[in-house]
């Protein structure tokens, strides 16, 4: 005689526990280990940004000194402004283009070459950054030579390019989630394609666009490799400035700047998460 109760207990146990990764033996230990490896250096960095001492390894006393010093450092000031300028403009441009790209790749009849188009949009994610950086450097140098135009525009253009796939992903995901019938309903209720987009698609797409823009912003403000190659004189972004500082020996001033950066990133990521969660 088969014990049905035991069987059903087993099957529900199987369903609930065994298949669920969370209940695999050792899962939580591995998770904790990864968390420590990932975040311990960051914790150390944050802690020593508050160190009164000049050393970044020996703790003496709590102080805000390094934050105040960083705030008054003209190099940091101008680098921060440059970073903000580049990141803001690139994020806006990248989001605009990503939105259009996402619309074309989700709202038209599938056409020959659509998959290639998606691949090209995502290309910056797949090609090693150093390759893009070198290629961009040479390409921009050629343009500069022919036209004689200089300025921060090159850096913004380069940032816009590699920000597009980051902005594209959440917008495309949102469009794919959206019920196509809503746009049909708008058309059925006498809305022209433009009106339907403005009154129905765009408001519903907004959370995706906001997430995309913030991701693009973070990726841009964080970039080192491409900026290093493309940035001209007087176009030092904050990561480049920090890199320069470190070459001359690390001070807790850099820790302080990095901590502020971290804080901004955390705030933006939290907003992205909350926006995505609420509007679903």
């Amino acid at each position: 005689m088969v014990d049905i109760k035991a069987l059903s207990r087993w099957s529900s146990f199987k369903k609930d526990k065994l298949v669920d990764l969370k209940y695999q033996p050792g899962f939580s230990q591995i998770a904790w280990f990864c968390m420590v490896v990932l975040y311990a250096p960051i914790v150390v960095l944050v802690v020593f940004s508050f160190n009164e001492n000049r050393s970044v390894t020996t703790w003496t006393q709590f102080s805000w000194d390094w934050y105040i010093k960083a705030w008054h450092n003209e190099g940091i000031q101008s680098a921060s402004l440059m970073s903000l300028e580049v990141a803001t403009i690139s994020a806006i441009l990248a989001t605009l283009m990503a939105t259009m790209a996402a619309l074309v790749t989700t709202r038209t009849q599938p056409y020959a070459g659509m998959n290639s188009a998606i691949t090209i949009i995502n290309q910056p994610l797949m090609v090693p950054e150093i390759v893009t950086a070198v290629a961009t450097l040479i390409f921009f140098a050629a343009i500069r030579k022919v036209t004689g135009i200089t300025g921060v525009g090159y850096l913004i253009a380069a940032h816009t390019c590699f920000c597009i796939p980051f902005a594209y992903m959440p917008i495309k995901a949102r469009l794919e989630d959206m019920n196509l019938n809503l746009e049909h309903a708008a058309a059925d209720l006498y809305a022209s394609p433009l009106q339907a987009f403005r009154r129905v698609t765009l408001p519903l797409l907004m959370p995706g666009i906001v997430s995309g823009a913030m991701l693009a912003f973070i990726v841009s403000i964080d970039d080192v490799v491409i900026s290093l190659f493309v940035a001209g004189p007087g176009e030092t972004t904050l990561p480049l400035f920090i890199l320069g500082q470190i070459r001359r020996g690390v001070t807790p001033e850099v820790n302080a700047v990095a901590t502020v950066f971290l804080l901004i990133s955390v705030i933006l990521v939290t907003i992205i998460f909350l926006v995505g969660k609420n509007k679903k």
Binding site: N181, L182, H184, A185, D188, L189, A191, R199, P203
Partner: protein, 387 residues
């Protein structure tokens, strides 16, 4: 389209009487030889509609009935403009719809999943179509409150649509589609997501709305009972073809095709030989023994000698054995359900019919399994079917 929806309860009786008198039958939708092929010129080409012709009259509650995949939703999407016909033409009150995008057709749709705009309130949803038509603010507000009253949703005007129950969402979807006063309202299985009781309520509600607004309703469903309850006329579809068009009474009592007979209600189909016919009736010698008079379908020229004959269980009754000229057989199964019984009678040749027998009022059981009985029927109970 310009006139607002008017519900004047005092004059309603007179109005509807007046409409009946002057009601000249005009075609709301005229579909001519329309074919729709999906994925044309590809290996997976699928013919959804094949040379369909259909006329739907003004102020009619018309139902497209058929199993899933029969093409009924495709037909609706062609009328709404979400799909273009591969061949053929569709006219709306005499004007061609060809090439017109959905937003230029004065036809509104109630979608199966309602598709209410989640970022708008109930009132904003209903106002949407009116605003797109460029109505003034006052006009929009007046129409919105009229339609809200029509579907009894005034109290929920400021709610977001995700705070509504399924039935309430259904009403909002209806109100939104009715507000611009379209010439034709398309309903794509709008009741299929509701539970049984709510569905029954909404059936009555829809019928009432159609009467009060005078708008032509084209209703798509796979539920034959729903179709019979609500419709003025029904078109039964199968595999992209229209099998039969008629009033619920005609469709139920005089199905002309085997598919229609099978699809709607319980029915007995018997084989026989056509031995004689005039314009409307044929004499059929049934394989199980006797000769019966049966109605002929409209296109009866090409009938073979071998024919199928259909008869509803409730048009048959059980009598005593050996009544002259009647079918005789043996009761092979008996299902009692209170007000009556379903009795299966098997004939000598192995064919079987189901009889719906009313319970008598003496409280005794009349029949038992293996009883020999004869089956009585009135004239005009049998219908000859084509395939």
């Amino acid at each position: 389209m310009e006139q607002a929806i008017k519900i004047d309860t005092d004059n309603q009786q007179e109005n509807s009487a007046a409409i009946k008198i002057e009601k000249k039958i005009t075609a709301a939708i005229d579909i001519k030889n329309t074919t729709k092929v999906y994925g044309e010129n590809t290996a997976s080409a699928m013919v959804a509609l094949d040379e369909v012709s259909l006329t739907i009259n003004d102020n009619e509650f018309f139902t497209l009935l058929g199993p899933s995949g029969c093409g009924k939703t495709t037909l609706l999407r062609l009328i709404a403009g979400f799909e273009q016909p591969t061949k053929g033409e569709i006219m709306l009150f005499g004007s061609h719809l060809e090439g017109l995008p959905p937003h230029k057709r004065s036809v509104n749709t109630v979608f199966q999943q309602y598709s209410l705009f989640p970022h708008m309130t109930v009132a904003q949803n209903i106002a949407f179509g009116l605003e797109m038509l460029g109505k003034s603010k006052g006009e929009v507000n007046r129409s919105v409150s009229e339609v809200l009253a029509l579907v009894q949703m005034e109290h929920l005007a400021q709610r977001k649509t995700d705070q509504l129950s399924g039935g309430q969402q259904q009403r909002v979807a209806l109100a939104r589609a009715l507000a611009p006063h379209p010439k034709v309202l398309l309903l794509d299985e709008p009741l299929s997501a509701l539970d049984f009781k709510l569905r029954k309520e909404m059936q009555i509600e829809l019928k009432r709305l159609q009467n009060e607004t005078g708008i032509t309703f084209i209703f798509v469903t796979h539920d034959q009972e729903e179709a019979l309850t609500m419709s003025d006329r029904i078109a039964v579809l199968q595999d992209g073809h229209i099998m039969q068009v008629g009033t619920p009474h005609e469709i139920y009592n005089h199905p002309t095709r085997r598919f229609v007979a099978d699809f709607i209600g319980d029915i007995n189909i018997l084989e026989g030989e056509l031995i004689d016919k005039d314009k409307t009736h044929g004499k059929v010698k049934l394989a199980c023994g006797i000769e019966v008079e049966a109605s002929l379908p409209a296109q009866s020229e090409n009938l073979n000698k071998k024919v199928s004959v259909a008869v509803r269980p409730e048009q048959l009754s059980i009598g005593q054995v050996n009544e002259a000229g009647h079918l005789t057989g043996v009761i092979s199964n008996l299902i009692y359900f209170g007000s009556g019984s379903h009795i299966d009678v098997t004939f000598d040749n192995g064919e079987r019919v189901t009889v719906r027998q009313q319970s008598n009022n003496n409280g005794k059981q009349d029949f038992l399994i293996n009883d020999a009985v004869s089956i009585c029927f009135s004239a005009d109970s049998f219908q000859i079917l084509t395939d």
